[in-house]
């Protein structure tokens, strides 16, 4: 089959250029010594990077985002474990509609999730804050966790659990000693994916955040002020570098996991 892919390969390279175009520009403008984000470049500087820690509002929004993202990741992964385990292992009445309903946020535009939660909070006269953002993010992240964990729990051999149970382990110790280590790669992927989704989510946070904005909400406010843009570019560069490192580690871990299980590599971790 290979060899005939000549023009397709050319197209693939052009397409990758299209995909990477914004990411390539990011570090260029982050190190450019000008507040105007346009060519020609005017000189090299690292001052936008040193300005980041000296912007208290920015630092606070990063902290808020990290707290929200970690809480969301843990909550949605826990809920995902419950749902995926129940779906893979047990049968119960109304299983299909219940599972379908839990997965519904996947096919709802996020603005709908955001405004409908806002309406309830308004009606109950509850204050907005980081916790409301966490609830909204957990709602949209749980289906992703379930999708990832479904395959982990689905591939599990039930006879291993039965054997442990038969050999005198309790239900909980069976889960802890047998099931948990086997689905661990799935749990780590679920944590990473939901952390990343929450960290980057804007519209739900925009509607549900209180006085403490998350990082995307803070950035949204900064985009209106041209003189603030270079700092945003510098921060974006750091975030890109961090996520590439994190994803590379996740990818290597995934390949090791597959190699250890003796399986064949068939695609990405998504």
């Amino acid at each position: 089959m290979t060899g005939r892919g000549g023009w397709l390969r050319g197209y693939a390279v052009l397409y990758l250029l299209f995909l990477y175009a914004p990411i390539i520009l990011l570090p260029i403008f982050a190190f450019n010594d000008s507040t105007i984000i346009a060519f020609p470049l005017s000189g090299f500087t690292t001052k936008w990077f040193t300005e980041i820690p000296n912007t208290p509002a920015l630092v606070r929004s990063v902290q808020t985002s990290l707290i929200v993202a970690v809480t969301t990741a843990v909550l949605s992964t826990l809920l995902g474990i419950c749902a995926a385990r129940a779906g893979a292992r047990y049968s119960f009445p109304f299983k299909t509609p219940v599972m379908g309903f839990i997965m519904l946020p996947l096919v709802l535009p996020e603005i709908i999730v955001a405004v409908s939660m806002l309406v309830v909070l308004m009606a109950l006269d509850l204050p907005l804050g980081s916790w409301t953002v966490v609830l909204g993010h957990t709602l949209i992240c749980t289906p992703f966790c379930i999708a990832i964990l479904n395959s982990a729990f689905g591939n599990l051999d039930v006879s291993l659990e039965e054997a442990a149970f038969d050999l005198g382990e309790s239900r909980w110790s069976t889960f802890r000693l047998i099931t948990l280590p086997l689905v661990m790669p799935g749990i780590i992927s679920a944590l990473l994916i939901s952390f990343t989704i929450s960290l980057d989510e804007f519209i739900i946070a925009f509607f549900l955040t209180g006085t403490e904005p998350t990082l995307p909400v803070y950035l949204w406010g900064q985009l209106r002020f041209p003189q603030k843009i270079p700092v945003v570019m510098a921060l974006g560069t750091i975030l890109v570098a961090l996520s590439v490192v994190l994803l590379t580690i996740a990818e290597i871990a995934r390949r090791r996991g597959i190699a250890r299980a003796g399986g064949k590599d068939t695609g990405g971790f998504l």
Binding site: M1, A21, I203
Partner: protein, 291 residues
């Protein structure tokens, strides 16, 4: 042999496990969806909400041309984005599935997904930098000598929204198509070739029909969130590229008219559902007619 204590009351155990996520979805999804539906039948006068049921909001949504225009534009833009994204994504998915050696496939998928792990806001903003009057694209094209005047049809209008969203949703289209192409039994292609079909006919009669589930999934995954996108129309759309989500936000946070915002949200949700169901239905009928 049935182990004692293992396998008994599976139903109870299943229900106990499903209870937390189900309750969470009930409280944070079902209740809010019911609430927003209820809100759409109420009205608001400054800060007090009038709970008398009324169809006033729906009448206003249908009679006020601005709302109809925004809804129509959202559907058209989302449709254009979906078409562009899926058509551009298919050759890439095909290339990775059929022309990349098996041990390099995950590397390619990894390379395709990396740009999308960066801040969505910053990515959209950078498209504004690329497409702008003095932007990267215009200055490059002028520098090379292809054009004399900056192109103005690529920023602050619907075109810019389509380009930016086609970029933002690329991996959501590539991955499902790639998965469905990977599932195709390669011996079917050999059989088709052995029976005398050429490359093009094999592609049209074997590969493409078998890839349909992936294409359908990609279409829905791109279309549904796109129609409700807020950031892209706001940043690169200009006044002529605004979409329904921008109006919903304005009603809620600027005009303090939550009932009208709720009405528009309900209408948007209904339209998304109807279009998706019609699409799935047509696709099923087409598949049935073929077999």
């Amino acid at each position: 042999m049935k182990l004692k204590g293992f396998g008994t009351s599976d139903t109870a155990r299943g229900l106990t496990l499903i209870a937390p996520p189900a309750l969470f979805a009930l409280l944070l999804l079902a209740v809010p969806l019911v609430a927003i539906f209820a809100f759409s039948f109420w009205s608001q006068d400054f800060l007090t909400i009038d709970y008398t049921p009324t169809l006033k909001n729906y009448r206003e949504a249908l009679s006020e041309p601005l709302y109809g225009q925004l809804i129509l534009r959202s559907v058209l833009i989302a449709g254009a984005v979906t078409l562009t994204t899926v058509v551009l994504a298919f050759p890439i998915a095909y290339f990775v599935s059929f022309h990349v050696p098996a041990n390099r496939k995950s590397l390619w998928i990894f390379m395709i997904t990396i740009p999308f792990w960066t801040s969505y806001l910053i990515r959209v903003f950078l498209w504004k930098v690329i497409l702008g009057y003095n932007g990267v694209l215009n200055s490059t094209l002028i520098g090379v000598g292809i054009i004399d005047e900056p192109l103005t049809f690529i920023l602050y209008n619907a075109n810019a929204v389509v380009i930016t969203l086609a970029h933002a949703f690329a991996p959501f289209a590539i991955l499902p198509i790639f998965v469905s192409l990977e599932k195709i039994d390669r011996s079917l292609l050999e059989a088709s070739r052995d029976l005398g079909e050429n490359h093009v006919m094999t592609f049209l009669r074997v590969t493409l029909p078998l890839a349909v589930p992936g294409v359908v999934a990609a279409t829905l995954i791109v279309f549904i969130p796109t129609i409700g996108d807020y950031v892209t129309p706001r940043l690169v759309g200009g006044p002529g590229g605004l979409m329904i989500a921008n109006m919903i936000q304005t009603q809620f946070l600027k005009l303090n008219n939550a009932p009208m915002g709720a009405t528009l949200a309900v209408i948007a949700m209904a339209i998304v559902t109807v279009i998706s169901l019609v699409f799935i239905f047509l696709n099923r009928r087409w598949l049935k007619a073929r077999s």
